[in-house]
Symmetry: C2
Subunit: 314 residues, 2 copies
């Protein structure tokens, strides 16, 4: 199978799935062309996944297809952006239908679910590596940034934390239990909080998605905003499946330190919190407050802010 046939068969069907309709020209020319709505700005981010680093060697290609787009789209959620389109730079050792069929199926499902149309890409031969760049739109000046958190703001996280981190212990389970299946689902098929991010425009004073662990990612907000945090570990939305599998202490550690959950961590001024619609507030847990002194307090025991650093010598 040649490169052009590969693109035609597996990836061309992913073009034309946009809700926004702002892609003027999709794959097939030297560049793609996108129209950004009047009064709006383009928001974009690139994420790379390398076999053996970001996912295990031999990882299920259908899960990989979904997961790679979900991970990238999560950065749009953290900015409060409306998804538009994405590009895929795919390097793979060989063009086998056994891999490409399920991969493109998972990617296509995610593409439809997130409203991200395939705009273009590049397919090359080499060690399995994926770089996905996602494009979104926000009304000018409305993007949620890491800067802007102020002392007194509530610190909130969406959903529950720790499941994707716990899942790493069960990736090879032959007949996983119900709880194991629940945490594996969080690892294989994360759901970026796109609608929540949009709902928090004009509300959240700062936002980030939790890819490297709550403490590490919250740390980025605190550093960018020049503030600190006082956390309430009792209020942490620890995954109940993880608590049953791992016990309370380890579940809390995973909720604070493990990555890959792709929930949002946001700061919200109390006055705006009260005005949030019930349907938005129920997606969030208040886990602490922003304080003026730098650093993070309220963490019991020997927890150390971790997170993943690719070239780390911590």
């Amino acid at each position: 199978m040649g490169e052009f046939e590969l693109i035609r068969r597996y990836f061309s069907p992913l073009a034309g799935q946009s809700r926004a309709g702002s892609l003027v020209l999709g794959p097939g020319d030297d560049c793609a062309i996108e129209r950004v709505a009047s009064g709006h700005e383009l928001v974009f981010s690139v994420d790379t996944l390398v076999e053996g680093v970001h996912f295990p060697a031999g990882y299920d290609p259908e899960h990989l297809g979904w997961r790679s787009l979900a991970v990238a789209a999560s950065d749009l959620a953290a900015m409060g952006a409306q998804p538009v389109c994405f590009t895929l730079a795919l390097t793979l050792p060989e063009a086998s239908p056994e891999w490409l069929d399920p991969f493109s199926r998972g990617l296509s499902r995610a593409s439809r679910a997130f409203g991200l149309e395939l705009a273009g890409g590049d397919t090359t031969r080499g060690p399995l590596t994926l770089s996905l760049q996602v494009h979104g739109e926000v009304p000018s000046g409305a993007a949620l940034l890491r800067t802007g958190a102020e002392a007194g703001d509530f610190l909130c996280v969406s959903g529950t934390l720790g499941a994707a981190g716990a899942a790493l212990d069960y990736l090879d389970s032959v007949s996983p239990s119900e709880d194991e299946r629940a945490v594996l689902e969080r690892y294989h098929a994360p759901v970026p909080r796109l609608n929540l991010g949009i709902a928090l425009r004009g509300v959240a004073s700062a936002a980030i998605d939790i890819s490297d662990g709550l403490l590490a990612d919250l740390g980025h907000i605190l550093e960018a905003s020049g503030v600190g945090a006082d956390l309430d570990c009792q209020a942490m939305p620890v995954s109940s499946a993880v608590t049953r599998l791992k016990g309370q202490a380890e579940a809390l550690r995973l909720a604070l330190e493990a990555g890959d959950d792709y929930e949002l961590c946001v700061a919200i001024p109390p006055a705006l919190w009260k005005e949030l619609p019930e349907a938005v507030r129920t997606q969030l847990s208040i886990v602490g407050k922003v304080v003026s002194e730098s650093g993070i307090t309220g963490i019991e025991g020997s927890l150390v802010a971790g997170g993943y650093d690719h070239f780390g010598s911590k």
Copy 2:
């Protein structure tokens, strides 16, 4: 050296080099933010370079820095787009200053030369792979496409052809001759025809950049436009250095079949050709005409349309 230190030291200096000033937010948040000028469209393309496939193992990192951005920017030239910014997804085995210093120096020189500001990226550990996505702008509807060539149009190429292809034989030369140095320069430091592409807005009926070889890339224009070509090999702007190094027949073959020159191939209606400013016309050679019958005629001997197909079984 950690990931954040690596980014701070080697790549943060490449942000803020834009001429356009349309980057609202550069590297450091979940996403970058770009403002597209009123009445304009965003034009973007992604290119991947893999060690051992697109450049030799152990290839000089300063050349690689320049070349990787030049290759990507060439797609903007082919669309007639004004360069704005780029993202870099860099996967590398280890964060060594011996590699990163010259790489970022070459990339930075190219960034300034092409007016492409670094907007964001992702740095991961793994086999050496680079994916660069370039962003440009065109007035709405003014982009040069592969479609649009019509019978009777002149077929033109910019500059000279064949040098980058010939250079592959001299990459390991210890003391290259003057001609060898000339062709090596074309391989190591290609210059995308950005200003020429912009000058051809409203003039060229179709355009592409020559990355895979003239016959292969012209073939994309012909297929997209539903036409054919009658070439005049006598008029081909064969590199004189290549003619001296390789002889006339092999130099012509390289001009037609070898890639990596990053010149433009465009179709121009004769009436518009006559109106082109002298300074633009001198950058172009008329190498044939568009004809209504599909296929390419006028190629002597046993030349076969080649070009590079990453998963090819030609």
